[in-house]
C-alpha cells in the first residue's frame, strides 16, 4: 500500500491466500466467507485501503466507487452455468447466483463501509487508466462525490489482480493518466 508491502503470502491458490489475508488483517466480518472470489478480492483490497474503524469519517461518506475489470463475473457465471447444465441434476445455488454480476463486489464494499454513494463498474479488455481518470474526475468536478475509490479488480480461473486507489482534491500523487498507469505498473 502506497508503495509498501503490507502482507505477503506465497500460497499460489486464491482461496488459501485470501483466507490467510482475512485473518492477518483481523477482518472479523462473517459474511466475507459467503462472497464469491471477485467480491472477496475487492472487499479485502478496499478493507486494507480504507480506515480500519470501518465507519468512514463524515467527509468520506460521499465516497464514490468506480471499479473495472476484464472478466466481469465470469468465474462465478461458470459455476452457476455448471449447476444448471444437467436437467437431471438441476440445482442452481441462490448464493452463487446473486454474485453473477460484477458490480455486486461494489455492494459488498458499500455495506461494509456504510456508503450510499455513486458507483459504477466497467468492463475493459485491459486496465484503462484514461477512462477511470476521466470518470472519477467528472464525479469530483460535478460534485457527485467528494472522493472516489477507483481501480481494477479481476478474477478469472484462479488468476487474480487488484489495484485500488483513492482520488480526492488533495493527495500525495497527481491525478492524471500517466501517474495512474505508473502506479498500476508499480508492483
Amino acid at each position: 500500500m502506497n508503495g509498501k508491502v503490507v502482507y505477503e503470502n506465497s500460497s499460489p491458490e486464491f482461496t488459501s491466500f485470501i483466507k490467510a489475508a482475512y485473518k492477518h488483517f483481523e477482518t472479523d466480518y462473517s459474511k466475507f466467507f459467503k462472497m464469491d472470489n471477485l467480491s472477496k478480492l475487492a472487499f479485502m483490497a478496499a478493507d486494507v485501503l480504507l480506515p480500519k474503524d470501518k465507519t468512514l469519517a463524515s467527509n468520506q461518506q460521499n465516497m464514490a466507487i468506480v471499479l473495472s475489470n476484464r472478466a466481469a463475473s465470469l468465474d462465478t457465471d461458470r459455476k452457476h452455468q455448471e449447476s444448471i447444465d444437467n436437467e437431471d441434476n438441476f440445482y442452481p445455488s441462490p448464493a452463487v447466483f446473486v454474485y453473477t454480476l460484477p458490480n455486486i463486489c461494489i455492494g459488498e464494499i458499500s455495506i461494509r463501509h456504510k456508503l450510499n454513494s455513486e458507483n459504477s463498474f466497467f468492463i475493459f479488455e485491459t486496465f484503462n487508466a484514461e477512462y477511470l481518470w476521466e470518470y472519477s474526475k467528472s464525479l469530483l468536478n460535478t460534485q457527485k462525490a467528494d472522493e472516489v475509490l477507483c481501480g481494477w479488480v479481476d478474477f478469472d480461473e484462479g488468476e487474480y489482480e487488484a489495484f485500488l486507489y483513492l482520488v480526492s482534491d488533495s493527495g500525495d500523487y497527481l491525478h492524471n493518466e500517466t501517474e495512474i498507469t505508473r502506479l498500476y505498473l508499480t508492483r
Partner: protein
C-alpha cells in the same frame, strides 16, 4: 434422528459457508435465523434447495420454510417425516 441432526449441522456449515462456526456450537434448538446463527434470506433459499437436492423434498409454498427452518430440531423432524431420499 441424532445422526440426521448431526448431518444437517455439517451441511448447514458447509453449504452456507459458516467458516467461523463448529458443529458443537450449534445446539439442536438454536434459532437458525435472527439472533441464532444469523442466517439471511439467501441462506433460506439455499436451505430450500438443500431439502430438494439431498432429501427429495420440494417445498410448494416457501412460507412453509419459516416453521421448518426454525432450528436443526424442526428441520430434522420435517425431513424424517417427508424425505424421499
Amino acid at each position: 434422528m441424532s445422526e440426521l441432526r448431526k448431518e444437517l449441522k455439517e451441511k448447514i456449515i458447509e453449504q452456507l459457508n459458516l467458516e467461523d462456526i463448529a458443529i458443537d456450537e450449534i445446539q439442536d434448538a438454536d434459532p437458525l435465523f435472527g439472533e441464532g446463527l444469523g442466517l439471511d434470506s439467501i441462506d433460506a433459499l439455499e436451505l430450500i434447495v438443500m431439502l430438494d437436492k439431498d432429501y427429495g423434498i420440494k417445498l410448494a409454498d416457501p412460507k412453509e420454510g419459516k416453521k421448518i427452518f426454525e432450528s436443526v430440531e424442526t428441520m430434522a423432524t420435517y425431513i424424517a417425516a417427508n424425505r424421499s431420499r
